[in-house]
């Protein structure tokens, strides 16, 4: 029994069957990659996991509880954090504040009105956020405006914001999309480090095979909304079905 169990999920957009009978099991403390050509339904599947979309049928269980019908913030409070394709951060706030907010969310839940308490008096939260920033080597940028960071640093910050919540499952939606090779390698190193240091499960959607084969322990190949095959990276490499699915699409 995996930490994330997807069973028989269907999702239709008008005449388009985006997901057809998807089954997926992600084992605890593994890195599971979901790959597939454009339009295979990877993002739709991810959106079904975080509450942005509701599947037409099927079930999504996380840690023994169903996530269906729950709002994104409730699902996050269950222990699922998400990294977006383009980093979603609080651009108008400082780097430190960006990391303090998830700390508050973790301590106080979805809503708590501490209107007369000073942020200054929240030493514990500040220490926690600073420790996290030190972990991703961004502490010297704590006072900077998050919007002024480089793309790579924004990604790093978003990762820190997710990790500081100590999620059980981290979902990554093409974390290296549009990155230069050097930045991509940095991100891979960062993710490897996270994996080694923390008891975390990761589920990565990725186009870049270099990233997938450097990180993943299990790979699910999705094509036309249906899982084609699920196996270890070694077995996936050069599998005829996989080649077929990618045929016609240049292997980047």
């Amino acid at each position: 029994m995996g930490i994330l169990e997807v069973k028989g999920v269907n999702k239709r957009f008008g005449g388009l069957q985006a997901l057809g009978d998807v089954n997926l099991s992600v084992a605890e403390r593994t890195v599971h990659a979901i790959i597939g050509p454009n339009g295979a339904g990877k993002s739709t599947l991810l959106n079904c996991l975080v509450g942005k979309l509701i599947p037409d049928s099927g079930s999504v269980m996380f840690d023994g509880k169903s996530v269906l019908g729950r709002k994104p913030h409730e699902i996050n409070q269950m222990g699922i954090s998400r990294v977006f394709q383009t980093p979603e951060i609080f651009a108008d706030l400082t780097v430190l504040e960006n990391v303090m907010i998830p700390c508050f969310a973790r301590r106080d839940g979805a809503f708590r009105m501490h209107a007369l308490r000073s942020v200054r008096s929240e030493g514990g939260i500040r220490d926690q956020a600073e420790a996290m920033l030190a972990d991703v080597s961004m502490l010297e940028k704590a006072g900077a405006h998050a919007g002024s960071l480089s793309r790579g640093d924004k990604r790093r910050l978003e990762m820190a914001m997710c990790l500081v919540q100590e999620p059980k499952l981290l979902l990554l939606d093409e974390p290296t999309a549009g990155m230069a090779r050097a930045d991509t390698n940095n991100t891979i190193d960062l993710l490897k480090e996270i994996k080694d240091k923390r008891p975390i499960t990761m589920c990565i959607i990725e186009h870049d095979m270099h990233v997938v084969f450097s990180l993943a322990e299990r790979i699910t190949v999705l094509a036309q909304g249906t899982p084609l095959i699920e196996d270890t990276p070694d077995n996936i490499k050069g599998h005829p079905k996989v080649r077929e699915a990618y045929l016609g699409e240049a292997q980047v």
């Binding site: 913030h73 409730e74 651009a91 504040e97 979805a110 809503f111 209107a115 007369l116 000073s118």
Partner: protein
């Protein structure tokens, strides 16, 4: 001190000093001089400064922090006034119960209106709040006449019950008071050819404004305030960080509605009548102007903006052609007429034109409002001082690789 630190404390003390010494600061011209008409230090006007200050401070908690632009906040101002006048009629001329009810009633209405309006954001939210306010204005003006007294406005009457004030029927209309201290009571201080009027009503409203300002600083610096800024910055990230944005925005909406209710109640406490026009959309627009002019999202901005607009409305509008002729009396006659003609549209009844131009200039050149203007000037001076000390390297070190 008071849970404020560093610059916030300084700011609060400066504003306190300004409120305390306003009757002197705003009366710089000796009586009898030709400039005496620009003295703004009379209680009636100063009361309006601080009351609209409260209104704008509250509005800023919603608009400045969360970015939700309400276009119907005057509804809460009007509600506050009606609630206060009803308290004066039914219960007592003491302002305390009146102000409590104003704040509570405005808060309850804000809860309902906010709950519905906050389902949408951006322009749709603005339109929803505008629709609610206009509906309330129209109702107050017509259907609800038994409660609001329609066009005439709600007023005190000699035969009002006023349960707590004893059954005696007064021979003249009673005045509002704070445990016996009449709001209209004034003392005039004469100092040479200067005259300063100290009004009880002004100081009462001033103290409430300081409390309102203090609370707003605390909110700005609290985890709650940080969440509100996060709402403005990125709601998507907030949701995926396990935070429910709806109660945060609703709380901000209710708080700012209560500030508006308090301001409306105070208006009635200074002059016990309430009319529907206080709820009209122009009044809602005014508080938006005040906040943006002063600097949305800044602590001091709304207070400055409120003061400036009320100053223009009451003082700048007094400059008529007669005054202009007096000013330009020294220049040759032909020139004098030309100058008066040129300035005429901008002053007196044309004060809106000057204010509008100023507003445009601020929005285009100083998007952060007057506060940003002040900050820029401050920075200019500091830079000059630093250059003299030859510490440019320090500035360069502060912004590496830019």
């Amino acid at each position: 001190m008071l849970g404020l630190h560093g610059r916030d404390l300084t700011l609060f003390l400066v504003v306190t000093a300004l409120v305390v010494f306003a009757p002197v600061i705003l009366n710089p011209f000796p009586i009898g001089s030709s400039l005496a008409q620009f003295n703004a230090g009379y209680p009636d006007l100063m009361q309006r400064f601080v009351i609209y200050g409260i209104f704008a401070i509250g509005f800023n908690i919603l608009f400045g922090l969360t970015g939700y632009l309400s276009f119907g906040h005057a509804a809460f101002l009007g509600l506050g006034s009606y609630a206060a006048v009803w308290m004066f009629k039914l219960l007592s001329m003491n302002v305390i119960p009146a102000l409590i009810l104003s704040t509570v009633v405005a808060g309850l209405f804000a809860l309902v209106i906010g709950f519905i309006s906050l389902r949408r954001s951006g322009i749709y939210f603005s339109i929803l709040t505008l629709a609610f306010a206009q509906m309330m204005y129209a109702l107050a003006y017509s259907v609800l006449t038994p409660i609001t007294n329609g066009e005439t406005g709600l007023q005190l009457a000699l035969d009002d019950p006023r349960i707590l004030d004893g059954g005696e029927r007064p021979t003249s209309l009673p005045v509002t008071d704070l445990f016996g201290l009449e709001m209209r009571e004034t003392t005039v201080l004469h100092m040479g050819s200067w005259e300063f009027t100290i009004g009880a009503g002004y100081y009462f409203a001033g103290i409430l404004m300081l409390i309102a300002f203090y609370l707003s600083i605390r909110i700005f610096r609290s985890p709650f305030g940080m969440m509100l800024r996060a709402v403005k910055s990125n709601q998507n990230r907030m949701n995926y960080t396990g935070l429910n944005t709806r109660p945060y925005t609703l709380a901000a909406f209710v708080i700012s509605g209560m500030y508006a209710g308090l301001a409306g109640g105070l208006l009635a406490a200074m002059d016990p009548l309430a009319g529907a026009e206080r709820m009209q959309w122009t009044a809602s627009g005014e508080v938006v102007l005040m906040t943006i002019l002063g600097g949305a999202g800044t602590l001091l901005g709304p207070v400055l903006g409120a003061g400036l607009i009320k100053y223009f409305e009451n003082i700048f509008s007094k400059i008529n052609d007669g005054v202009l002729h007096a000013w330009f009396g020294a220049v040759p006659d032909g020139m004098e007429d030309v100058l008066v003609t040129v300035f005429h549209p901008f002053v007196g009844k044309g004060w809106h034109l000057t204010l509008g131009l100023m507003f445009m200039a601020v929005v285009i050149f100083l998007p952060g409002g007057l506060v940003e203007g002040g900050t820029r000037i401050g920075r200019l001076f500091r830079r000059r001082g630093r250059n003299a000390g030859g510490a440019e390297a320090e500035a360069a070190a502060k912004h590496p690789a830019e």
